[in-house]
Symmetry: C2
Subunit: 459 residues, 2 copies
């Protein structure tokens, strides 16, 4: 095993330039999933990956229709029943490039400057997909994989993976596994390997209050009817208490609290108050009393207004008493909150607090369950050990504030956790002009994955 591992690492080092050039080939296919004009490119990117997987020796390679953009499937299941089976997730679609005029080089030229590969999708996440393929190739050259793997490479992540849930549902047996590897994350700095082990969930709702039948003259009727904009503000204003805690009934009941050991781990993260002030540009930080910003954004639930609209919003003044008022309200959830329960708690809060002068509707936009992968699970331990070997430092553990729907879907449909990884950096300009991938940590990432596969079967 150690011989094969060393040989796989050597292979990877010897092939760094070819690995990089293959990534460049993939980046040059403008697979923008939002844009129907790129439908052909989506197919081309899927075919590129299918050919590549075939080339490195994967079995059952196929481009599977989903109703939307296809999923590339492949597997290699010869490691034996006693070895773990891992689904390697990835997406081959990329964000649009606008505003195109802010790019310093053609987003699909994949230009290298100063050790960085610039181009749309380099970091998010063609680089991560190719790193996984390269790591597997390095093992295949040693006679095969130490574990069983299945590939699930989708083409709709940047449009919210509309087809994926149903696709996994329909192919539940095909994707049966012990856990998933999801390299759609990143590390915090070139010298700080990081393991994201938790994602927040989401409950995104739209609350509309209806008062008078139509907009009223605020002089003629103001004072005698409940103004839905005032009432909406009052309701929202009451959703937090003075300590920044959310007041929906039973909201915190199922929240897994951070324990001292976890808080100590999180405190190792370099993101201090100054970091958050600088990143947000807020005049002052504010959050639930008793927690640090890293804990606020990763380990605690939130309730944020994402949008407000009522009455007259143009220039100047119009003395209208609006007929309705709308707020988009979303809650970031942490384990073990459930978006369906949280919606019920919001409904209960509204019912208990709203005044009778308005009626209301609550529409649901999205829901995603939070996830929390144990830092003591085999997958996370194997990844941590691999990172420590390659970087020679103990990795940081990190809770991600956002949601990755596919992680929740795998949990929900396949009943498996996801081990999150990825080797991009915070300044990679994801979804922005001049996206880039720094090649140094990317090569280390390939090494890390090679070690990771070995660690999963080490005794």
């Amino acid at each position: 095993m150690t011989n094969k591992l060393n040989s796989a690492i050597n292979f990877a080092h010897e092939n760094e330039n070819r690995f990089r050039d293959e990534l460049i080939e993939l980046v040059r296919i403008p697979s923008v999933s939002t844009d129907v004009e790129h439908k052909g490119d989506m197919q081309k990117a899927a075919e590129y990956l299918a050919n590549k997987l075939k080339g490195i020796g994967m079995n059952n390679v196929s481009i599977m229709p989903t109703g939307g953009h296809p999923v590339v499937y492949a597997d290699f299941l010869t490691a034996g029943d006693d070895k773990p089976t891992v689904v390697i997730y990835g997406h081959y679609d990329v964000q649009p490039t606008d505003p195109i005029e802010l790019w310093e080089s053609d987003p699909f030229a994949a230009e290298i400057r100063d050790g960085k590969l610039f181009g749309r999708g380099t970091s998010d996440m063609k680089g991560q997909v190719m790193a996984s393929i390269h790591a597997v190739e390095a093992w295949m050259k040693q006679g095969g994989m130490p574990i069983n793997i299945k590939w699930l490479l989708e083409g709709e992540e940047e449009i919210g993976s509309p087809s994926l849930g149903k696709f996994i549902e329909n192919n539940k047996d095909l994707f049966a596994c012990d856990f998933a590897l999801n390299p759609d994350g990143g590390i915090l700095a070139e010298d700080l390997p990081t393991i994201p082990y938790s994602l927040r969930g989401l409950a995104y709702l739209e609350l509309t209050l209806f008062g008078p039948a139509g907009d009223l003259h605020s002089g003629q009727f103001g004072g005698a009817v409940l103004n839905p904009a005032n009432e909406l503000a009052r309701l929202i204003g009451g959703m937090h208490d003075e300590n920044g805690r959310i007041t929906l009934p039973n909201f915190y009941d199922s929240v897994v609290e951070l324990d001292d050991e976890e808080r100590k781990e999180l405190a190792r993260l370099p993101q201090d108050e100054a970091f958050y002030l600088e990143q947000t540009g807020s005049p002052k930080l504010w959050g639930e009393k008793g927690y640090t910003p890293v804990e606020h954004t990763g380990g605690r639930p939130t309730l944020d207004v994402n949008g407000l609209l009522s009455g007259f919003t143009g220039e100047g003044s119009k003395t209208v008493l609006p007929a309705k008022a709308m707020a988009k309200i979303s809650m970031r959830l942490v384990a073990n909150q459930d978006p369906i329960q949280v919606k019920k708690q919001l409904i209960q809060y509204i019912e208990e607090n709203i005044r009778p002068g308005v009626t209301w509707t609550l529409d649901e936009h999205t829901g995603a369950k939070p996830s929390l992968t144990s830092r003591d699970s085999d997958g996370v331990k194997a990844l941590a050990k691999a990172m420590e070997t390659v970087w020679d430092v103990r990795p940081l553990y990190y809770r991600v504030g956002g949601s990755i729907p596919v992680v929740g879907q795998m949990m929900e449909i396949l009943g498996v956790d996801s081990v999150m990884t990825g080797f991009g950096l915070p300044d990679d300009n994801l979804h922005a002009p001049n996206e880039k991938l720094t090649l140094g940590p990317w090569y280390k990432g390939i090494d890390t994955l090679i070690h990771f596969f070995a660690n999963l079967v080490a005794n």
Copy 2:
């Protein structure tokens, strides 16, 4: 005097058809002040009125430039220094006609159907201006007016009288008077003569809260920064207490409370809860505890959100933590509140309550002082007596919920109260398709004004 009065009334009755036809002539001039295409018609309407005033014997008739549409001035000041001097206010401009397709007859054809004159401006307020001119003509036929009068007929009321304040300021001496007569009001029903003796003032402000430097991802940063939309809602939510009272510091200090006798008068008004429910279409009325809807809308101050805007307001969901949030907030004021003081109270409330995670701006859009003309003043008593004579019922006293800027300007610049009157009805479709004037009460209005002038000098 009684002979002259009877003779003036007889003259008016004998000339009803001619009076109506002259109104029709004026309505047929499409003097839409908002529309530059009607600039010539504005001039024509001003000339029509100037000629008419000259024709009935007024002195110093002139069309005075204002920078915007002109003011028609005239006077007749021969009643003697011991007699009151009254400025008769009016406006000759009208609202636009859209949606034109909803009119049942050409808005400028001035068609009579079923005792009603249909046309733009018939009720608001060419009919009221002509009623005043006809009443004065009836007196002039008796050898002259019993009081001194000055005319101020502007052409910009429907666009907010932008030039008027400065014009009155520049002509302060010209318009010196004991009080103003403003017939831009109306009565509540054909058989219910009504005297509006109070107008609410207005302080219209725009509050914007600024949080992060730009919109943030609500997953990445939600929980660690103050969301300006949440905070705006909390601030607005705190501006009323559970009894519907406004919580700005010292807000009610200068409010003239309704006394028992006034509340008894207001209780005579036919507008009960059912009326307000029907007019507003609200599911339930709501207002400051301890007051009736008529008192809410006329006698008590309000704080209404007129507009809300923040973050993402399109279809669906976007997980944005908005960089800013805006609310248009206006307060209707009652005597003796002052919009400048009230703005200071709002600022104090914000300063005392806002959290340090946001900065803010407060822009002022409009301010208007409330007005309250004593029901015991000579002008109101003369009007009440005139109405009782003509209608044979004691008039109702009414507090108007809206603001009429010119009333505040006359108070501020000339130091005089306005006696409000007018003979339109609530269903006259002001500012809407099929505006009309019911001729029966309009003729009574002319009689009322003839009596009113007499009553002002009766001992």
